[in-house]
Symmetry: C2
Subunit: 207 residues, 2 copies
DNA sequence: GCCTAGATGTCACTGACTGCCATATTGGCA
DNA sequence: TGCCAATATGGCAGTCAGTGACATCTAGGC
């Protein structure tokens, strides 16, 4: 029974993901066309061919239909970080974890990368989305200490959080520079991003 | 004419500030009593003796009636930073600016500090307020580069922003530790905060 | 081809926030 | 003192995000 329901869930999960992507694409087009504020959820739902109520079954907020982690990057990051020893936790550890995720993100052909850049541009241009994206980063930086070390002291928890926040800042800056960078004549967008990320990390060290 | 209106504005501004404080106090009590989400703006307005419409003339959002900078700290910080040379802009510059603001905040007797701690605790306990507070910090980190250097390059603008974000992170951590610290037997709350802040800055250097 | 879980739609509702217009207050001036 | 004009306030109607409840529909497994 459990196996059956899980397999069914697997099929349904794929469908759900497909619907999510459809809604997101409809939303992105409307936001790019008319702006985030001027677009209502009802319009997005209509464009995606679902009811407004269904929209909120897929995304908890209007912002989240842009920011939702469709490709499981958060999970990939956590997997990378679980291998790290919480006692000797340094900035380099998260940096390499992020690096691995960004590299894998490069492997998955440019369609995903293009969508990401589209989203990133929209986020940069929309205050409400910037705030929501920021909230996501911060949520991460508060969840990860709990996930990493259970027996660590309060002092080291703060240390871990600081390290994570700085790593998040690096990623944010890298994504921003990447989104602002010239689109013309880009053969390897993901690699490009990786180079920008490394550069930002290097600059961070010269603080 | 201009002088007159400014003097009138001065008197009215003081009244407006008084009303703002009244609304904020009413809001704080209700939030502490029933929680942020469970409290409606209508209830706050009623408790403060104004109409709901007037509430939104004083604060743009429900969150802002907690976070609004009643004491002009942002302005004080900007004043401290204006004296800095944008070309040789280091983390220590913002740190000392924040330090000066926090110290001045200590001078103004403990009533202000107590209110701040109250607010800080509420913010920590309320996700919606945490996000809004975060947004404020980030807005600052995007405005200050423009304010500091007009002729600086894009590269140094990013550098300035990074420095500011790190400084903001230090302040956030310090405020959090301060709010979480024991209330019992505190003679000098502001000085206490200053010590915590210095400690956080020192720890940040060991990243 | 039925049976049930999960997906979807509809409806009604709350609550934040805004624009508009009428009214009340108040500081400054004749 | 009493009027004028700027400003503050209230009331009202409306938009829109988000939620709960209930009915219906769909599709996978037997």
């Amino acid at each position: 029974m459990i196996d059956t329901s899980q397999q069914v869930g697997d099929l349904r999960a794929r469908r759900r993901n497909a619907t999510r992507i459809e809604i997101q694409q409809a939303a992105l087009e409307l936001f790019e066309e008319n702006g985030f504020e001027a677009t209502t959820v009802d319009e997005i739902a209509a464009a995606a061919g679902v009811s407004p109520r269904t929209f909120f079954r897929y995304f908890p907020t209007k912002e989240e239909c842009v920011l939702f982690d469709l490709y499981g990057f958060d999970e990939a990051l956590e997997a990378c970080l679980r291998a790290v020893d919480p006692e000797h936790f340094a900035l380099a550890d998260i940096e390499s974890a992020y690096r691995a995720v960004i590299a894998g993100f490069d492997d998955q052909r440019s369609e995903v990368a293009a969508n990401f850049k589209r989203i990133q541009k929209l986020v940069l241009a929309t205050p409400a989305l910037s705030r929501a994206a920021l909230g996501r980063y911060t949520d991460k930086s508060r969840q990860l200490p709990d996930l990493l070390g259970t027996g660590t002291s309060a002092r080291s928890r703060v240390h871990i959080r600081m390290v994570i926040e700085i790593a998040n800042l690096e990623v944010q800056c890298a994504f921003e520079e990447w989104a602002e960078s010239d689109d013309t004549a880009e053969d390897e967008p993901g690699h490009e991003l990786l180079a920008i990320y490394d550069d930002v990390c290097a600059r961070m060290r010269t603080l």
